[in-house]
């Protein structure tokens, strides 16, 4: 059986997979990182978004073998070892940017990539457009957009702390 060696959240693993094994299957079933979700399985919903070599991708539409040698970050790799949340996670909590939570890991991973690629800052419209590849069926997106707008201020160092949702 073929093997793939990749680094997930800083830890390098070599795993036996089938040719057809998807990256999301490797993450969830072999590495037991079940924070990455499978929603539609047709590359539309974005619940499976992870970062591969710094770019957000849909891990249900990538073969595990295509990740040979890659650096992968999943939702489990965001918080610090002491439990301090990533500013994007903290913003999702503060702004109540989730209801059922199913889409949240993918939303957070897409949002971080979006903010990192736009150091000049994003308008509300650009945030909405940037989330085109992620579907949420319960929040109506408003609080997700607010959370990302607040998180980008912290991620780019324009604010030292997250603006509270009550501000």
């Amino acid at each position: 059986m073929p093997q793939v060696t990749l680094t997930v959240n800083g830890k390098t693993s070599t795993v036996e997979v089938e040719g057809r094994t998807l990256l999301v299957e490797l993450l969830r079933e072999k590495l037991r990182l079940t924070g990455t979700h499978v929603g539609c399985d047709t590359s539309q919903c974005g619940a499976c978004v992870v970062h591969v070599n710094g770019d957000s991708v849909k891990s249900c539409t990538m073969l595990a073998l295509q990740a040979e040698g890659a650096e992968v970050t999943t939702i489990e790799g965001l918080a610090k070892p002491d439990g301090t949340l990533h500013p994007m996670q903290e913003a999702f909590r503060e702004y109540h940017a989730l209801q059922c939570g199913f889409c949240t890991p993918g939303m957070v991973m897409s949002a971080i990539d979006l903010v990192q690629k736009h150091p000049q800052g994003l308008s509300e419209k650009e945030i909405r457009e940037g989330l085109e590849g992620n579907l949420c069926r319960c929040t109506g997106y408003h609080n997700i957009v607010k959370a990302i707008a607040a998180a980008q201020e912290v991620m780019h160092g324009r604010r030292s702390e997250l603006a509270s949702a009550a501000e």
Binding site: R20, S56, V57, D113
Partner: protein, 264 residues
């Protein structure tokens, strides 16, 4: 998904050898179309030939009055390329509207053009810009390349290596996206090129096609008004749950007008 053998050759020659030796082997680049098709078991390849390790298939470079883009170039790379933005801004703009961010981070120009999905974006640019498709064996003019739904002039085992885009005087692209899937319902790529004005329509029919009546009108008068009164016949257009052939025919004129306006 059915299982398959997996190979990752390091050169075009090795990839072609693997593809020629096994008629049921399929190449994969970004996999944004192939993997969903495999999940639906629409296809049962014996082997997947991963092209991602082939350096000679990558890169964007300017060669005189043309832009040469390697088959493995990702949509995001075309959209963000300073070279493409300055030479053919409409092509960079088109690439930035394919699928979503995550699809653009994986999907490639060569994959999209080889697949020739009727609702794909790149075929319209390739046809309207009178591009040349370079394979491991030969050079194919865009007019000879797109043969029908999901069908191209590529022979079994033949690999698309690069696409050469002559730099146009002006070009513009407009499309109407299906509000759910974001696939193209109808799109128009218009270009004023050395070989004349060319208008390519995608999404509306089973295969990208040239709208010659619009080309003639724009040759006489390059303005949105010139195409406003031209009616696209609905006869051979797609009709499905997303829209009737008549609706798509109407969209063709609207998109052509917008594309000319975008080209300036």
């Amino acid at each position: 998904m059915y299982d398959f053998a997996y190979h990752k050759p390091a050169s075009v020659a090795d990839a072609v050898k693997l593809l020629s030796a096994d008629p049921d082997a399929r190449p994969i680049s970004g996999g944004q179309t192939l993997l969903p098709a495999l999940k639906h078991r629409l296809n049962k390849p014996s082997a997947i030939i991963d092209l991602s390790g082939i350096a000679e298939l990558r890169g964007i470079r300017r060669e005189g009055d043309k832009l040469v883009i390697g088959a493995l170039t990702k949509h995001v790379e075309v959209a963000d390329s300073a070279e493409v933005k300055s030479a053919i801004p409409a092509l960079a703009q088109l690439a930035g509207t394919i699928g979503d961010t995550q699809v653009r981070n994986r999907g490639t120009m060569g994959g999209s053009v080889s697949n020739n999905d009727p609702a794909a974006d790149y075929p319209a640019a390739v046809l309207a810009l009178d591009a040349t498709i370079v394979t491991d064996k030969r050079r194919i003019a865009a007019d000879e390349f797109f043969l029908g739904m999901f069908t191209t002039a590529l022979e079994p085992g033949e690999l698309l290596v690069a696409i050469e885009f002559p730099i146009p005087e002006k070009a513009g692209y407009a499309k109407m996206k299906n509000p759910a899937s974001r696939y193209v319902m109808a799109g128009a790529f218009v270009a004023k090129t050395k070989s004349g004005v060319r208008v390519a329509i995608n999404g509306a029919g089973p295969c990208v096609f040239r709208q010659t009546e619009m080309e003639q009108a724009l040759t006489a008068n390059w303005s949105p008004d010139a195409v406003a009164s031209i009616k696209q016949p609905a006869d051979d257009l797609n009709s499905d749950i997303h829209g009737s052939a008549e609706y798509r025919a109407h969209l063709v004129t609207v998109m052509a007008k917008r594309a000319v306006a975008a080209a300036g």
